[in-house]
């Protein structure tokens, strides 16, 4: 007889409410499910008829940890629909904000949410007794990310300074200089912490061939600005398609056990996020990033989803570097006061594809001639990853010699957490 057992009721140290359920036939586990229990908010459907001016602030609220990514991707999609070109200074400031969020998000995940697992501790404060320096560094890096978001975004969560056509306020030169110096100090500190991460106990209890999807850009690592094409890396090689064809990735299916629908590519689950970005953009990784990859012993493409933790650490190195570079470019070019360019609504469709901290993010809207929303699609990284998490759950169960509940529960929690799921995000879906 088959029965369902809730293994994890409320997954800890991730954003939002998710759980893990297993199906048993007698003593044998026959299936594992990732349950997204966060309530549906239906934001895309509720946007219908609202003014273009309300769209970015409303969709920012999809998720706090990714709120800068949602805001900036939303503005980009609306600007594309109305044919608005923002200034190079705005582009640079927005990208700096994007990096700030990534620093905050990756520092939070790597040092404060994932690291306790490797030391069998329930939380970062509990880990602080044993590893005070690592926890304090995590807090400092996270704070630096927030300082960038405060300065450029006007607020650390749900930024208010980026507006359609530009930025409300341009930061002062003295503030940018102070930020640059803080980034330089953080780069030095992080270099030492990479060795600590490299020395962590192995987490190679599961192996599975994985398909990765990320944005590829000409000449640069996958950042906010202008993703040229979406690239799929699988055992069948690389495949490219244009951002406008994003729906190929979102063959979404309603699932009875989850408020998040499942995405597949040609019927196969795929992974997005830091590990996918590194895999797709391996040749565009900076020397400092390459050094971190080597020191962490990361082999790409990887067949272990736990490597996403290490991939985030590599990106942390590159984010600090990139943020500093952006500030130096701004200071060299001179920071000018500037008002947003005027925005005139018109009927049309705009799509923006970016790389949020947790992976590929798509916002696509259709507007009528007065700038009222006709339809809105948001496709989030965690929604895209949901099918892949479950696949890796099943592989973990299949490959585990010990099938007792505590051992399996711990492994499944580690897998889920390595994806750094943002469960609030995952509940946002395309209309049928």
């Amino acid at each position: 007889m088959s029965s369902k057992i809730v293994l994890v009721e409320h997954l800890a140290r991730v954003e939002g409410h998710g759980g893990i359920t297993v199906e048993m036939q007698g003593d044998v586990i026959t299936d594992v499910q990732f349950n997204v229990l966060e309530g549906p908010r239906l934001l895309e459907a509720l946007l219908h008829g609202k003014s273009y001016l309300q769209v970015a602030p409303i969709l920012s609220r999809i998720c706090a940890i990714c709120s800068a990514a949602h805001t900036l991707t939303s503005l980009k999609a609306t600007e594309a629909a109305f044919g608005v070109e923002v200034s190079p200074q705005t582009q640079r400031l927005r990208e700096l904000l994007f990096r700030g969020e990534s620093i905050e998000s990756h520092a939070l995940h790597v040092f404060l949410l994932a690291l306790p697992d490797y030391f069998h501790r329930p939380s970062a404060p509990a880990l602080a007794a044993e590893q005070p320096e690592a926890v304090k560094l995590g807090l400092r890096l996270k704070q630096l990310g927030n300082t960038i978001q405060e300065l450029i975004g006007g607020r650390a969560i749900h930024p208010v300074n980026p507006v359609l056509g530009g930025m409300g306020h341009v930061p002062a030169v003295a503030d940018l200089r102070a930020l640059r110096d803080a980034l330089e100090r953080a780069q030095d500190e992080l270099r030492g912490a990479i060795d600590l991460l490299a020395a962590l106990p192995p987490d190679d209890f599961m192996e599975a061939e994985t398909t990765y999807v990320a944005v590829e850009m000409r000449g640069e690592y996958a950042y906010y600005d202008a993703g040229d094409q979406l690239v799929v890396v699988s055992s069948n090689g690389r495949r490219r398609f244009s951002p406008a064809e994003y729906r190929l990735l979102t063959n979404e299916q309603s699932i009875a056990h989850s408020y998040a629908k499942h995405s597949t590519l040609d019927g196969e689950p795929f992974m997005v996020g830091a590990l996918a970005r590194l895999t797709v953009n391996r040749r565009r990784v900076s020397p400092a990033g390459t050094d971190a990859i080597a020191r962490l012993g990361l082999v790409l493409p990887s067949s272990n989803p736990m490597d996403n933790n290490r991939a985030q650490a590599v990106e942390l190195v590159m984010d600090l570097e990139r943020a500093r570079e952006l500030i130096e470019q701004s200071l060299d070019d001179g920071v000018r006061p500037e008002r947003p360019v005027p925005v005139e609504p018109r009927a049309g469709v705009g799509t923006a594809v970016t790389e949020a901290p947790r992976g590929l993010l798509v916002h696509s809207y259709e507007y009528d001639g007065d700038g009222h929303v006709v339809s809105a699609d948001v496709i989030t990284p965690t929604a895209m990853n949901a099918a892949s998490v479950e696949r890796h759950f099943r592989e973990t169960v299949a490959q585990s010699a010990q099938k007792d509940t505590p051992t399996l529960t711990r492994k499944l929690e580690l897998i889920a957490r390595a994806y750094d799921p943002c469960i609030s995000c995952s509940v946002h879906l395309v209309r049928r």
């Binding site: 800890a12 140290r13 991730v14 954003e15 939002g16 409410h17 229990l37 309530g39 549906p40 908010r41 239906l42 934001l43 895309e44 459907a45 509720l46 219908h48 008829g49 003014s51 309300q54 602030p57 409303i58 609220r61 999809i62 706090a64 940890i65 709120s67 404060l112 949410l113 306790p116 329930p122 939380s123 970062a124 404060p125 509990a126 602080a128 926890v135 807090l139 400092r140 996270k142 704070q143 927030n146 006007g154 607020r155 650390a156 969560i157 749900h158 208010v160 300074n161 507006v163 409300g168 306020h169 309603s254 009875a256 408020y259 629908k261 929690e413 609030s424 879906l429 209309r431 049928r432």
Partner: protein, 250 residues
Amino acid sequence: MPKPRVGIFGLTGCAGDQLVILNCEDELLDIVDLVDLRDFVMASSARDAECPLEVAFVEGAVVTEEDERRLRQVRERAATLVAIGTCAVWGGIPAMPGEAPRRELLRLVYGDVGEQYGDGEARAVKEVVKVDAEISGCPIEKEQFLKALAYLLNGDMPLLPSYPVCSECRIQENHCLLMGEGAFCCGPLTLAGCGARCPSLGVACIGCRGPAPDANVPSAVRLFASNGYGHDEIVSRLTTFAPVAAGRSA
């Protein structure tokens, strides 16, 4: 005296208010020393899900049956329940009115599977259980959280400003976007505490902190109308963050 037992909970929302607490990077390790943090799933996998709590902070709107069950359980455990964030205090964005009933939208998004998801309506925490104190904001301001926590640790109820953002904006001598630019600035109606973040950057207030209790709503609506905004637009903007305050029928 034993340390007060504290729990931090999230219902349906964006987790922004819990993240504000985690963003107290300078204070976090001190807070953990001052209180006995028993139940905070977003930050720790060690949780005591049963113990009585001196203080519970609850973020998010009540959307699912599970949200309601969890909220009632927290209320039973907590001597003092503090609603944090605009969703918990006023329903927030999840309760924002749309063009069709939630049940219809659920069907539209999920198909037949949507039938099992209840009515999809979002409620503020005080519409379901008794609330002892509120910290509004989308998200809450870090300083207001720390101040409220200090009050509670000293056995007092938090005392936070009840005047509008307009007052804070005047103190900063900002150029008035409502009168001077004809912008749709919700500063006169919105609860202070953010230091007039948006108008200080030249960006109009969108009312994310919910209403100030003594705001003059008819006067502000007349100003919006004289700035050229139509009735539907005014209603849509003013019900975005605090539909419960607007009585939902507006």
